[in-house]
């Protein structure tokens, strides 16, 4: 088995050129959507079936004649499927179309997908879209076909500033830690890694260096990044307790003298 791989997307050096978006479409033969206005700079608007990379623009530029850039005022970030360790999409897929590959990436097998779209509502990042053309759910494959040919993903290949880096997770973690240390040393206190550790859905194979809080980029922070799933012991336990109480209440109600006394606790079974 190859080592787990992923993306390290360093938003501090992103210049919003969208070469990643175009290269992705070229390689994966995505036609894109009908052109429509977004807000001037972000006209892709979201990740979906036709857009597997999406550069977000967050204009937090203050008023003033002299400004500091350094990646912290006009935020740009090339968003992509996170290839979560605890992947909700994979868990809800009823046909097992979504698999974890030998590269530790999350991949939708188009020939197995039945187009039920459960994964679309399950994904906490809004990554997946449904393609009417193929009848399947679609998202970033981390260029599964290129990986098999020993090539790096198209977006990382074209990124001119090395904002998108591809590699083994262990290498990328080391690079990210070093970059963060440099930024902190330069006084960029808000710089932080996102998905580097397991606090976000067990860890993200495509993780990020952000120049502000995750919420600013429209990403769930670690308090919110909680998956109601069998992987999440706490919520699983909570559900179990609730269910047990419900069953208990139901049994008690049935066995009790008053048929109406159990109404307020209704079972969850």
């Amino acid at each position: 088995m190859p080592e787990p791989v992923g993306f390290f997307t360093d938003s501090s050096v992103c210049i919003g050129c969208k070469a990643c978006e175009v290269a992705c479409k070229e390689w994966n033969q995505l036609e894109g959507n009908t052109p429509s206005w977004g807000d001037g700079f972000d006209n892709t608007k979201q990740l979906d079936a036709e857009n597997w990379r999406h550069v977000k623009f967050i204009d937090n530029v203050p008023q003033g004649e002299m400004l500091t850039g350094n990646g912290a005022a006009w935020l740009m970030m090339s968003d992509v499927c996170k290839h979560c360790k605890n992947a909700a999409c994979m868990e809800v897929c009823p046909t097992d179309a979504i698999v974890r590959t030998e590269y530790d990436t999350v991949y939708i097998q188009p020939s197995v997908c039945n187009g039920c779209r459960d994964c679309i509502s399950a994904c906490p990042f809004g990554v997946i879209g449904f393609s009417a053309k193929t009848g399947a759910a679609q998202k970033c494959t981390l260029c599964y076909d290129r990986l098999q040919a020993n090539m790096q993903p198209a977006c990382a290949k074209v990124c001119p500033t090395q904002s998108i880096q591809f590699g083994t997770l262990s290498d990328l973690h080391a690079k990210a830690d070093a970059r963060l240390a440099t930024l902190h040393a330069q006084g960029n206190d808000k710089a932080q890694l996102y998905g580097r550790d397991d606090s976000i859905y067990g860890g993200l194979n495509s993780f990020f260096l952000l120049m502000d809080k995750p919420e600013v980029y429209g990403l769930p922070n670690k308090e919110n990044a909680v998956l109601p799933s069998r992987n999440n012991f706490k919520s699983y336990l909570a559900a179990f307790v609730a269910a047990a109480i419900g069953v208990f209440a139901g049994v008690k109600a049935l066995s009790g003298p008053s048929p109406s006394s159990g109404e307020s606790t209704g079972g969850t079974a």
């Binding site: 052109p35 004649e65 002299m66 005022a73 740009m76």
Partner: protein, 822 residues
């Protein structure tokens, strides 16, 4: 560029003016980022190069810069002038360099003066600086050096003489105080001084700064001087000729550098030889008027000395055996334009109905403007218009464009489908002067033909008509060589060989322009490219690069001499003799350009005789090309002054704070006025908002309107409006607004942002807005919104006026007003 893209990683400080490399050159921009991330670079103790972006708007370049300052468009002479003043007042210039490598010590004529915005020799009647007894092509008399008995310029190496260039410069820019800079540019004094402090440090030999610019400096009535002012600062700091330094123009197309080198501009022949002028009856007249004169005993004056060799070799390329010593090598067969023949002049002539036809090859007049409505009017006066392009353009479709009544257009329009560059091989010459060969990706589609085949066919048929019917002055046409296997279909490989030139005695390809002759025994289609295609083959195909940096980049400076080919003679940094001190030691041993090893110069290909000892009393001065032998701080080659001066854009909301009576450039040519057409310049009463235009990363000028995936990224025209102005107008992002100037209007979406803003100019506050240029009434987006797209041409707003020297239109600074559309 004097340097090249990869070299930017060698800089400690990067000044970016009139450019937006992150958006317009994202791939080249990696080198800016590498400098920034390299802890060895930077002012002070290092920690990474610092990037300072002075621009009308906070762009994607500013987003990653260390410092962004909002500058009023077109005021960069004040910015650089202020920096020069700071350097000079604080003695931060590189003293050795300035004394020995620039003309700071040259004594200027007593007749030279500068008062109240005017240099000496001004003639208000003709609005020109005049030479009292002009031989054709000569410079203004009073802008000259004082000469000694041998005809050399007098010098004062102590730089104390009040009429030496150094003292004149100091005096000239003493007016550019930080307060004055603030009043003109809008940059607060304190912020300006922070920049000045960093810049001042770059005069130290162990520090180096690069200045990067693009058409944000060029496209102004003072464009040439805006660029010159930055170059002067680099000379004062001793940064010209050094790795990590230089003046670096980012070119706007993949091959615009190659175009320029090969005479895309009307006033030059290939290799920057001047176009002959009426009155020059012989080749010798031409050389006398065009070639620079030696002004110092130690000046090599290489260009001036060899001018005739380059010109004769060019004429031999064009006219072959028909060019002989007896007919002055066919000198009188090439045109001698009697007047200006620039782009603006072509439209002006068409407006006056003095043009029959125009061929547009790879450019769209209507979209490019300026003043697109006037341009469309000009095109409608033609008898015929040929548009050579892979796609329909706003020029091929102008006759049914917005505001046009097809019945009133007499022009017959021919669309000749030409191949796109991906359908042909050939070379691109990048901004760093690297000639890089490429292969065709696809065969020509449909019935398209290569542009050069269309032109060759045209010549073939014109020759046939001359042969059959005769005609006026047939020689220049009939004798033009077409020495290719198939003269109707020359290959680009054949053209590349021809551009390099050959020795007619041996038939072999030339290896260097140093061996070109003026006796008709050599050819060179463009002498600066001689050496690009030698008997060893096409040098631009070489690809020894980063696959083996040790072998391919032996100096470690990023020259990669075996990668492609760089003009001249594969030199990677121009003027590199100036990278070493008087005895040949690099100013900064860690960043050498070339150095003298006791017997020869090593490092980059030296811009100097390879074995000339720097300590030889007869050693040439470092700048070998010009007559002075040194960098020209004071120059008499410009039409608008020997030292850059700030003049307001023709449309400006303020008077020139330095000299209100001479506000805009006094020598700019005013086409409408001269032709007695109606005035098309607006005033700030009606149009109080400053506007500038620019490109976005998602599109490449106008051609990408045909590429759906790029149109998806940027589907619709817009204007960037400051938050405060938007509040005044009741506009929010996404609303439709009407942006209008004296000349035309756009109906576009508003993008409300703090990335553009207000400027405080003295006691006046002025808004500045930004308009991307990419849209028009042709293309994928236009087809989706045909009604809206009628008002998408940004150049419908821009003024019909150009730089005093080059006549490049002032599309970067003009006045508009904005209203909300229902």
């Amino acid at each position: 560029m004097t340097n090249h893209w990869r070299d930017i990683k060698n800089a400690d400080l990067i000044l970016i003016n009139g450019a937006n490399p992150a958006e317009a050159h994202p791939v080249g921009f990696q080198w800016f980022m590498r400098a920034k991330l390299d802890p060895q670079r930077g002012p002070g103790k290092g920690g990474g190069a610092k990037m300072i972006h002075a621009d009308p708007r906070f762009s994607r370049t500013s987003a990653v810069s260390d410092m962004y300052v909002r500058i009023r468009t077109g005021t960069d002479v004040a910015y650089f002038g202020g920096l020069m003043n700071y350097v000079l007042q604080n003695n931060l210039h590189h003293a050795d360099y300035v004394t020995h490598y620039t003309n700071a010590s040259f004594i200027v004529s007593k007749d030279y003066s500068f008062n109240d915005g005017l240099f000496s020799s001004y003639d208000p009647k003709t609005r020109t600086y005049k030479n009292p007894k002009p031989p054709p092509g000569a410079a203004v008399d009073s802008w000259k050096y004082e000469l000694d008995g041998d005809g050399f310029a007098r010098r004062d190496n102590s730089l104390q003489d009040p009429r030496c260039v150094f003292q004149l410069l100091k005096k000239h820019y003493s007016r550019y105080t930080p307060e004055m800079v603030q009043t003109i540019t809008g940059i607060p004094k304190e912020d300006f001084l922070k920049i000045a402090q960093m810049v001042g440090e770059m005069g130290r030999p162990d520090k180096v700064m690069t200045i990067v610019y693009a058409v944000g400096l060029t496209q102004h009535t003072t464009g040439s001087q805006l660029i010159r002012s930055a170059a002067l600062l680099q000379l004062l700091l001793g940064n010209m000729g050094r790795p990590g330094g230089g003046m670096n123009a980012e070119r706007g197309h993949a091959n615009i550098q190659g175009n320029t080198d090969n005479a895309i501009s009307w006033e030059i022949l290939p290799g920057y030889l001047k176009i002959p002028q009426p009155g020059q009856k012989s080749l010798d007249d031409y050389i006398k008027a065009s070639a620079s004169k030696k002004l110092d005993p130690n000046s090599w004056n290489f260009f001036g000395t060899n001018y005739k060799k380059f010109m004769v070799s060019l004429l031999k390329t064009w006219y072959g055996d028909s060019a002989t010593a007896a007919n002055d090598f066919a000198f009188n067969w090439i045109p001698k334009p009697a007047g200006n023949s620039s782009w603006l002049t072509i439209y002006d002539q068409a407006l006056k109905k003095k043009m029959d036809g125009v061929i547009l090859s790879g450019m769209s007049a209507t979209s490019i403007g300026p003043d697109s409505n006037l341009v469309m009017q000009a095109l409608s006066n033609l008898k015929w218009l040929v548009v050579m392009d892979p796609f329909p353009t706003t020029s091929s479709e102008f006759w049914h464009g917005p505001g046009m009544t097809p019945a009133n257009v007499q022009t017959e329009v021919f669309q000749v489908p030409c191949t796109h560059w991906i359908e042909k091989d050939g070379s691109f010459v990048n901004s760093g002067r690297w000639m890089q060969w490429k292969d065709a990706v696809l065969p020509p589609q449909g019935e398209s033909r290569h542009d050069h085949w269309v032109l060759a066919e045209l010549l073939y048929r014109v020759k046939a008509l001359y042969a059959k019917e005769g005609g006026k002055f047939p020689d220049p046409i009939m004798h033009l060589t077409m020495d290719y296997k198939d003269p109707r279909k020359p290959t680009l490989d054949e053209l590349a060989r021809e551009v390099n030139g050959k020795d007619l005695k041996t038939g072999k390809q030339m290896v260097t322009f140093a061996k070109l002759q003026d006796d008709g025994t050599t050819t060179a289609g463009d002498w600066i490219y001689t050496g690009s295609y030698t008997p060893k083959g096409n040098m631009s195909k070489r690809r020894n690069g980063v696959q083996d940096p040790k072998k391919n980049d032996p100096t470690g400076m990023g020259f990669y001499p075996q990668w492609a080919w760089s003009w001249p003679l594969n030199r990677r940094v121009l003027y590199n003799r100036a990278s070493a001190d008087l005895v040949g030691k690099p100013w900064d041993p860690k960043r050498p350009g070339i150095k003298w090893d006791g017997g020869k110069w090593v490092g980059d290909v030296p811009d100097y005789p390879p074995k000339m000892s720097p300590t030889d009393p007869n050693a040439w001065l470092p700048f070998i090309m010009n007559g002075e032998g040194v960098g020209r701080i004071f120059s008499n080659t410009m039409v608008d002054g020997p030292i850059p001066e700030h003049y307001e854009p023709v449309e400006s909301p303020v008077q020139n704070a330095l000299h209100p009576t001479v506000s805009a450039s006094p020598v700019v040519f005013l086409y409408d006025k001269a032709a007695k057409r109606e005035n098309r310049f607006g005033t700030s009463d009606e149009y109080p908002i400053i506007a500038t235009t620019y490109r976005l990363t998602e599109h490449e000028h106008f051609v990408t309107q045909q590429i759906p995936q790029l149109v998806q990224l940027q589907p619709e025209a817009f204007v960037e409006i400051p938050t405060g102005l938007a509040q005044e107008k009741g506009v929010k992002t996404g609303d439709m607004v009407r942006v209008h100037s004296k000349r035309g209007e756009m109906h576009v979406r508003a993008v409300v942002t703090n990335r553009v803003g207000q400027l405080t100019l003295g006691d006046k506050k002025v808004w500045q807005v930004g308009i991307p240029i990419h849209w028009g009434f042709v293309g994928v987006a236009a087809e989706l919104q045909p009604e809206k797209s009628k008002y998408w041409l940004a150049n419908a707003l821009t003024p019909f006026v150009g730089d005093a020297n080059s006549r490049t239109p002032e599309t970067k600074a003009f006045l508009v007003n904005i209203d909300k559309l229902a």
